[in-house]
Amino acid sequence: MSLLKSAYQSELRTDLPDFAVGDSVDVHVRIIEGNKERIQIYTGVVIARHGGNSATATYTVRKALKGFGVERIFPLHSPKIEKLVVKRSSRVRRARLYFLRARSGKAARLRERTN
């Protein structure tokens, strides 16, 4: 292992499930309000992953909220993420699903992956 990698190795999370672009996920986000901490569940479709499994890796989760598209970018190894649950996987043919931004409703559906 390179010295650079050893600097951040302890930061990496190993408890996350495998997930891919096109998956519908529940992201359990820890939110601190004053002294209280609570968990907010953010549900949406992973439309992009960046940076593989490195310390700087991120993923983008898109959901439709009251007719508006909302996208959140999470750092993959963020300790603010309590857990990540994969609800459904889709058969997608590209690495980044940016075309979903132009679609809504029925047009934004993805074909479910069956193994």
Binding site: S2, L3, L4, S6, A7, Y8, E11, R30, I32, S54, A55, T56, P75, H77, S78, P79, K80
Partner: protein
């Protein structure tokens, strides 16, 4: 004031205790060796010379080998002087590690910036250049006027023009130390530091 020499390894990010992501530069700092202690009586000023990166005796000049033999230090590639009060407490030939720094310290990091060669004013001084249309011809990336006419009949000194950019000594101040690991000789500072990977850095508090 503490000081040490280091090698830039690259950038990555870590999370702080609040879970916020911090961009950091990883520096392999030390181990350095005290190769000479300069005194006011002998040299006219007080300073401590540090050596960094052990190497073979054949890779450095013979006068340098002799100089290091006097301090009882193995051959090292780089020598730098610091006017550091903390370093003055070390003895000749002693090892200096990054343990002299602490998490939360604000440090000053100096290095040699990446060389860009001879560049125009847009890259070198962030000039805007000219429009690509609306009648502009032959001067899309130029600097514009460099002075008035017959009075003063010359261009003033230090006017910003094209020329060598980069490959110069650059210092960045007030970088926060995020992590110190004397076992692996690693220092993590928040933000960017000058120069390319593997470049020599001077870190001072």
């Amino acid at each position: 004031m503490s000081a040490i020499l280091g090698r830039k390894l690259g950038m990555t990010s870590v999370f702080d205790d609040k879970g916020e992501c911090i961009p950091v530069t990883v520096i392999e700092a030390g181990p350095c060796y005290v190769t000479q202690i300069k005194s006011r009586e002998r040299d006219g000023y007080e300073a401590v010379q540090l050596g960094f990166v052990e190497t073979k005796a054949g890779r450095i000049t013979r006068p340098e080998v002799g100089h290091l033999k006097k301090a009882g230090v193995k051959p090292v590639r780089h020598l730098r002087e610091f006017k550091s009060a903390v370093l003055r407490s070390f003895e000749l030939g002693a090892q200096v590690t990054c343990g002299i720094f602490q998490i939360g310290d604000k440090v000053k990091v100096s290095g040699t910036s990446k060389g860009r060669g001879f560049t125009g004013v847009m890259k070198r001084h962030n000039f805007s250049g000219f429009k690509a249309s609306h009648g502009v011809h032959e001067s899309y990336r130029g600097s514009g006027s460099v002075g008035a006419s017959s009075d003063p009949s010359r261009t003033f000194k230090n006017w910003r023009m094209a020329g060598q950019s980069g490959n110069a000594r650059v210092t960045v101040s007030n970088l926060r130390v995020v992590m110190v690991d004397p076992e692996r000789n690693l220092i993590l500072v928040k933000g960017a530091v000058p120069g390319a990977r593997n470049g020599l850095l001077e870190i001072q508090k």
